[in-house]
């Protein structure tokens, strides 16, 4: 056995406990799962092992007297733009472990957030704006393949048979987060919220737990490379079936659910041994070409009587436009692009931080290419990857999206503080854990309420923006790049996004 190594990693966070406020009630001791707070029996006070703190704020929020706050450890390194503290600490961690560094959530590096450089129009003088309080604003969105043309008979009846369509009351859906990556209570919260809002939620690659079967009409099921939980009941129950080729947090590599999170219930739904790592291989081992993708798409259509749209999800990468064109021609009714800032329960940090492109650019180039090829109508375009607000959603639609998926934002609504420890399975908020003691911390009734509140709030804001622009339906904004202007963007970026500079 190798000699014991002393860890050189400095403490990341400092716990500040106000002694004037702390009443030693031990709520923080009970709430923390990272072994930070403890009650010192001899001295009769609560103390903290700061080296374990991950900055999740559970103790801060739950302290009844507001006695706690968390600060970044003010350990000062000599100023160095190249050798930043995080880089130094990653190297130390790797020197101590010899493995791939795992992390949770999405890319946190300072790549340009194009949403913050795009601004929306409003009507003034030449066009009147519309008051959403007086006039109805339509957000309903139809997901599915649209025919090239529609023919009517002599009596006005439609002769064209429409491919399957799914109506959303708002263009915001809940992104794929698998059972195992998040808890059943989280999925219950999102499923209930989706039903109440008239939108959809996505099972992710972990299968559909039987207790969620009642939400089937609002469920998108995923067929990922591991084929976890995929059987004909699953496919037939769903509203939409989604083939997951990749995701923004880890383009090109497969999924990974650490064995810590594979409890007996997760094991049952996924049909793998308890405690084993649930690995989804990098490619689907029956999809090695675009023709193979077409084969799987039609296998699913055959298995579901051609009654449901089939979606294909990829990470936003180089040549996304060409790939999307291929996917549409392969028979996909819905295309999902997941950008660089998409989150995950576990991914190698090196992949999360270095692979993929921002969703804004991918969206613009895919929408443009599909329009140029005259096939934009054949598939709905859905985007995701770090969308944070109604503004981001409206801009995504203006760039061409039919709808968006929100993942991180939905979890934040449930309490997530983006501490990036999802892969440990110790989430204090009870969100991305399988530990039954922790999963109880999410009450699905309240969780659903919070998620509904978030999407309802954003929907109202989008309606306000639409009225402000002088339109009364989201369809009028969709792909309408003239309603956007760019600030602080260079010519290439403006060209790719297809928007003019503010002031022109």
């Amino acid at each position: 056995m190798a000699a014991m190594m002393k860890s050189f990693l400095p403490t990341k966070f400092v716990v500040e406990r106000d002694p004037a406020r702390c009443i030693n009630c031990k709520v923080c001791v009970n709430q923390c799962t990272f072994n930070v707070h403890y009650f010192d029996e001899d001295d009769g006070v609560v103390r903290s092992r700061e080296e374990n703190c991950v900055g999740c704020h559970r103790c801060v929020v739950f302290c009844p007297t507001n006695a706690l706050t968390i600060r970044r450890n003010p350990l000062e390194y000599r100023a160095n733009q190249n050798w930043q503290p995080e880089v130094i600490e990653d190297i130390l961690k790797q020197a101590e472990s010899g493995g791939m560094l795992l992390t949770g959530m999405g890319n946190d590096k300072g790549h340009k957030i194009y949403w913050d450089h795009l601004l929306l129009n409003a009507s003034q003088v030449t066009n009147p704006s519309i008051d959403p309080l007086r006039e109805p604003m339509e957000l309903s969105t139809y997901i599915g393949r649209k025919p090239d043309k529609v023919e009517f008979g002599p009596g006005g009846e439609m002769l064209t048979e429409l491919p399957p369509q799914v109506m959303l009351e708002t263009p915001i859906m809940f992104a794929a987060m698998s059972y195992g990556a998040v808890s059943l209570n989280v999925q219950k919260s999102l499923a209930r919220a989706a039903r109440e809002l008239g939108t959809l939620w996505n099972t992710g690659e972990g299968g559909l737990h039987p207790s969620l079967a009642e939400y089937a009409p609002n469920t998108i099921v995923q067929v990922a490379s591991g084929r976890f939980g995929v059987h004909s009941e699953y496919l037939r129950a769903a509203r939409i079936v989604e083939i997951k080729i990749g995701q923004g947090a880890k383009p090109g590599i497969g999924g990974h659910l650490p064995g810590e999170k594979v409890t007996s219930e997760v094991s049952q739904t996924r049909m793998i041994p308890v405690g084993t790592d649930a690995l989804s291989p990098a490619p689907h081992h029956d999809i090695y070409s675009i023709e193979d993708l077409r084969q799987l798409i039609y296998a699913i259509k055959e298995a579901t009587d051609y009654e449901k749209p089939v979606s294909v999800k990829i990470a936003a990468v180089h040549n996304a436009a060409a790939i999307a064109s291929g996917m549409v021609r392969a028979g996909a009714d819905m295309i999902v692009l997941d950008g660089l800032r998409g989150a995950t329960g576990a991914a190698p940090k090196a992949i999360r931080d270095n692979v993929g492109i921002p969703i804004e650019l991918a969206l613009a180039s895919v929408d443009t290419r599909l329009r140029q090829e005259g096939i934009r109508n054949l598939a709905s375009l859905v985007v995701s990857g770090g969308l944070r607000s109604s503004g981001d959603v409206a801009k995504a639609i203006a760039l061409g999206a039919d709808a968006v998926y929100i993942g991180t934002a939905a979890l934040i609504a449930l309490g997530c503080h983006v501490c990036q420890q999802c892969h440990t399975g110790k989430c204090t908020w009870g969100i991305c854990t399988s530990d039954p003691a922790l999963t109880k911390r999410i009450n699905p009734e309240i969780g659903a309420q919070r998620a509904v509140n978030l999407v309802r709030g954003w929907s109202l804001e989008i309606k306000d923006m639409l009225g402000g622009m002088g339109v009364n339906a989201i369809e009028s904004l969709r792909g309408n790049r003239l309603h956007l202007r760019g600030v602080g963007l260079n010519d290439t970026e403006l060209e790719i996004l297809g928007v003019k500079s503010a002031g022109t």
């Binding site: 084929r227 004909s232 790592d277 084969q295």
Partner: protein, 244 residues
Amino acid sequence: MEIDARGITYKALNESLRQAMAHGASDIVVRNVNGQRYIGTNLQREVRLELHGTPGNDLGAFMDGPSIVVHGNVQDGTGNTMNSGSIVVHGHAGDALGLAARGGTILVQGGAGYRAGIHMKEYQGIGPRIVIGGMAQDFLGEYMAGGVLVVLGLSGISAGKIRARFVGTGMHGGAIFLRGTVESHQLGKEVGVAALTDEDVAVLAELVGEYCEHFGGSPSDIMAMDFVKLFPLYLRPYGRLYAY
């Protein structure tokens, strides 16, 4: 009831099978099958299909219930993500046989291609069973998480001598029974080799019996041959690749 598949698309053929079933047919013979895909995919009942010819890819994909007998060879993806039912092939199979299968039985008289039994799963002892009478190629049982995979090597160019490489890479459940011997360089690092226990022999005997029932041959002759069992060494074969 008989259906002639000559010259019809897979969509039309599968639709007519569904119609026949909806009208109560439970035993259907299909002749002149020539590359039509996804046969047996959307028949959720225990019907019996007898196919003459060469079915196309994804025969029995996502299948739940039917028993399919094929008089001919099958192509890639046979039994893809199959849930229950059976597929019996009087011929050879292509690649990715039983990919991600969760239950049911596949018996192939002849050989199989690459990636046979990849990512098979099981839960509480209920899992898929695949028997290949001839040889199997590389990546046999890759990522296997459950079920039983048997290769008899009774026919094929190097009958009895296993030539497949990368066997069982990433295996973390289930068992593979191979007739003959295999060298360690042919196996994934996660794979252990052992002699069969009495329990294993019973499982194997049952499968060999079923194989012979369909394809002939003497079960006792086959059981007298040398078999090895491949099993996963680790529950978490990739656990040490990651730092938390």
